[in-house]
Symmetry: D2
Subunit: 157 residues, 4 copies
Amino acid sequence: VGGVIRYVAVVGPGETASAEQCAIAADVGRLLAEAGCVVVTGGLGGVMAAAIRGCEAAGGTSVGLLPGDDRTAAPVAASIAVPTGLGELRNGLVVRAADAVIAIGGSWGTASEVALAMRTGRPTVAIDGWRFLDSGGIEVPVPQATDARDAVAAVLC
Amino acid sequence: VGGVIRYVAVVGPGETASAEQCAIAADVGRLLAEAGCVVVTGGLGGVMAAAIRGCEAAGGTSVGLLPGDDRTAAPVAASIAVPTGLGELRNGLVVRAADAVIAIGGSWGTASEVALAMRTGRPTVAIDGWRFLDSGGIEVPVPQATDARDAVAAVLC
Amino acid sequence: VGGVIRYVAVVGPGETASAEQCAIAADVGRLLAEAGCVVVTGGLGGVMAAAIRGCEAAGGTSVGLLPGDDRTAAPVAASIAVPTGLGELRNGLVVRAADAVIAIGGSWGTASEVALAMRTGRPTVAIDGWRFLDSGGIEVPVPQATDARDAVAAVLC
Amino acid sequence: VGGVIRYVAVVGPGETASAEQCAIAADVGRLLAEAGCVVVTGGLGGVMAAAIRGCEAAGGTSVGLLPGDDRTAAPVAASIAVPTGLGELRNGLVVRAADAVIAIGGSWGTASEVALAMRTGRPTVAIDGWRFLDSGGIEVPVPQATDARDAVAAVLC
């Protein structure tokens, strides 16, 4: 198993996700399932719920690492829902549980996950994501993809 | 105590901090100590160590929340050093332990802390920090300060 | 889903587990799978590995919440292996992830999990487990079962 | 600093602590302060609050690692109060933050802390504490002390 990307986190906004971002997330979830990957998410709505739905509809395995103590807070049923009770520290657990990270859309929570993924050297790719400029105005690059297929290919290759 | 800013996290790069960033961090640590605040950091080098040094030299109280299990990994002596063993999840604990956050310089670890601070609505100010653009290229603003005095004033007022 | 016991943690010693305890754990894993439950463990050897093996052999779903950062440290393949990087704090996460706890055999790690399960009011049952006496020598009771079938019935009913 | 015991956790029941246990905890807090140790607690009432009070009255330094997100939930003012937001997982953080552990009285939460302290090999001593019997009825010994002075001497020597 060592070295093979098998667990991929799909991170992105919850309530504030756009319909288009959710559609992309559903595609990413499906493609990851078809590739035999486990989809890891933060277990809530928006991009997270869409990725779980896409994965489950394709017969895949998904994991929701919820911030609260209540398993039933998950809006869609992941294969496995873990109420971590860690609050926003579960963002770090989502990243740590994954071999690679696909970010769809942006929010401060998503930015924390992308930053931790980059910090820990995980293969990371963003679709429609935030960009990061250092204090000199130079971009600190996060690999970008234009669609679900490209994003999945980028982290699996 | 409720509502008063008393614990302020000073976050920033470790090894990759510049001399100027460390000088600012030392000033911030000193000013926070003089204002009667507790300085919370991640306990390692660079900006973290400088903030602790500035705080301690001014007779203040500092806390280092270390990522590892070994208290002696702290390069400078905070008043209190806590080996959290949480790895990079301690970034979230640094933010949570603080009523406000001052970021000096930038790195992926620092970006994760700024993002969590913004996510959780804590007063946050950055000096010489990274900037964040949404997918449309519009800046998602983090309050900026130009020097230590401004930064401390911004989070304490 | 609310109120139904679906996720059951099986906790017990790793290296120091006896062959008999592992046989019981395998039976518990199988029975939980047959009852449609997800088996949650700490992901390492001994009782944990046996419960995963029993669950997986019966076509069930198992989760290993590993203490370290390395997914490949799991001696047997759970359906889902999560490297939490939390060290022994993952004991608390194992309990929190579960609706009920079955302890098989005893060790200090196992005792910490039983204590947290009792502390948080989860249905808990022990087979061949440690007993707890208060300072007056009076037993603080943990429900006991004599075999795998009784234990599973105790937490599911 | 390596090897010297400087941070000592004082653990024990909150609401259910007896007046006598609180009196002992206050003595332990004072003696630790006089020995130059930092007193680490879970930050709530009962034994925790008494140890903090004893330590602070003697001019020492105390740390409260609170389970919730609200610093003001601490009933007495520790030198440093950290709202960890980890719930009962902060029990493990209290142990990890300490070089040695003194338990006063018993409860399930306290038992989890004693178990984690024994599991991780920290010097541990109990006053009026629970006892642990293995499945054969043989005691798994935790060092016991009869009063505050003995307990402090036991972990500092």
